[in-house]
Symmetry: C2
Subunit: 251 residues, 2 copies
C-alpha cells in the first residue's frame, strides 16, 4: 500500500484542547470553568503518541513536563543501583505522570507505554505560572499530588503486610474500580500488563501470579482468557482485598 498522508498523522503537531478531551472531568482541568480551561489550554503543549513499549521519560532525564494520559496504559518503575526494577504503578487515561520529578528537576523513574497511547505534554514552568492566576487549578493540583501520596501508602500497606492472595485481590479490585470510574465494566476487563509486570508490582514472582490466577479460576472467583479477566464474585474478592475473607488454598 502506497504511503498516503492522512489528517490523523498531523495529530502529533496539534495542541491539545482540554475542553474537547473526554478525560477533562478526571484530569487536571477537573472543576475548572470554561474561561480557566482556555487558559490551561494555552499552557498545555503538544500531544505525543507512543507505541507499545516506548519510553515516555527515563530516570535522570531533565524534568520539563508533566504528562496527562489521553488514552493507553502506562507503567512507571524505579531502577536500583543493582539494575533491578520495581514497578511503582500502572496508570491509565486521565492520570498524571511525572510528579516525582518536581523535586530535583530530574525524573526519578521511567515511564513506559504498555500499549499504543497518547499523552498531553504539560510544561511545568507554564503550569507554575498559571497557578498564581487560577487558584482552583492549584488546589486541584495539590489534590492530585496528595492522592498520589495516598496511593503509594496503600501500596506500602499491600507490600508490607499482605499475603500473596490478598495482594492479588487488591490489585484486581483496584483495576475494577478504576475502570468503573471511567465508565467501563467493573467486572470484565483486559489486563494491559504482562504477568511479569503484575508480579513485579506486587512483590511476587511471575510463577506466583500464574498460580494465583489458576487457583482463583478453579475457585470460581473469576475467569481468565489470556489477558481478558472477568470477575465472577467481585463481592468475595473485595472481602479478600479488605482482609475480611480468606480463601482456602485448596477446596
Amino acid at each position: 500500500m502506497p504511503y498516503v498522508a492522512t489528517p490523523q498523522l498531523n495529530v502529533n503537531a496539534l495542541k491539545a484542547s482540554c475542553a474537547g478531551c473526554s478525560m477533562h472531568q478526571l484530569c487536571l482541568p477537573m472543576g475548572l470553568d470554561d474561561a480557566d480551561i482556555v487558559r490551561l489550554d494555552e499552557v498545555i503543549g503538544r500531544r505525543r503518541r507512543l507505541l507499545r513499549d516506548e519510553r515516555l521519560y527515563q530516570m535522570g532525564e531533565p524534568f520539563r513536563n508533566l504528562y496527562a494520559i489521553r488514552f493507553g496504559h502506562f507503567k512507571t518503575y524505579q531502577v536500583n543501583a543493582a539494575g533491578e526494577q520495581q514497578i511503582t504503578g500502572f496508570q491509565m487515561a486521565g492520570e498524571l505522570l511525572g510528579m516525582d520529578a518536581i523535586s530535583g528537576d530530574r525524573h526519578h523513574c521511567d515511564a513506559v507505554a504498555l500499549e499504543d497511547g497518547e499523552v498531553c505534554e504539560i510544561p511545568f514552568s507554564g503550569l507554575e505560572e498559571l497557578f498564581g492566576h487560577v487558584p482552583a487549578l492549584l488546589r486541584h493540583f495539590h489534590r492530585i499530588m496528595s492522592q498520589e501520596i495516598t496511593r503509594e501508602q496503600n501500596v506500602m500497606l499491600l507490600l508490607g503486610n499482605m499475603r500473596a492472595e490478598q495482594r492479588f485481590a487488591v490489585f484486581l479490585i483496584n483495576l475494577s474500580s478504576r475502570y468503573a470510574a471511567r465508565g467501563y465494566s467493573s467486572t470484565s476487563f483486559q489486563l494491559r500488563m504482562s504477568r511479569e509486570d503484575i508480579g513485579n508490582y506486587l512483590g511476587l514472582t511471575i510463577e506466583s501470579i500464574s498460580r494465583l490466577l489458576s487457583r482463583f479460576k478453579k475457585q470460581g472467583l473469576l475467569t481468565v482468557d489470556k489477558r481478558e479477566v472477568t470477575l465472577l464474585q467481585p463481592v468475595l474478592l473485595k472481602a479478600m482485598a479488605a482482609g475480611t475473607e480468606q480463601c482456602n488454598p485448596m477446596t
Copy 2:
C-alpha cells in the same frame, strides 16, 4: 512536688517564628528571603507539644493543618479494614506531616510521637492563600510533596524486591544520612522506634529485626546497646543497601 507555673509552659500559646527556628533551612521556609519568612510566620499557627505516644492526628479526622516538626520523632501509619497497621514512615525535625490529607479533606493515616516533641501547626487554608503571593514558597512546597512521592517509591522498591538483610541495611543508611543532614553523627545514633516498629515498617517481624541486629553485630558491621546504634562499617552497609555487596548469613 507542688504544681508551679513556669515560663516554658506558655510555649504552647506562642506563635511560631520560622526565622528563629533552627530548622528553617530544612523546613518549609527554605530559601525564602526575610520578608517572605515574615509573611509565612503570619500564617503559621501555634506550636503544639506532644508527649511520647501521643497522637498528632488520626485517620478520618478533618484536615485543617499541616505540621512541621520542630523536634522529636514521629511515625505515620495506615490502618486497613482488618485493623492491621503499616507504618509508612518515620519523620524527624524539619519534616512536614499531613500532606496525604490534602485530597479528600480528611487524614488518611495516623501520626504519633515516638518521643516528646513539638510541631508547628500550619493552617493549610492560610498557606494556600500565601501561595498566590510567594511563588518561591509554592515552588518549595511542590518540591516537598514531590520528595515525599519519591521517598515512598523508594520504600516500595525496598518492600517489593529486597531481602530482609538489604531492607535493614537501607533502613540504617537512610537514618544515617538524615542525621548527617541535620548535623548529627552519621555513624552513631539512637533508634527512636521500637524493634516492632522497625519490623512493621520494613515488612518483617520483630524477631527478624532482632536476628538481623544480632547478625550484623556478630559480623562487626555495628554495635548495639539497647537503642543506641553505632555503624562500624558504614561503607559495607551502604554497599549492602545498594545491593552491591552481600553478606553471608553465617561466617
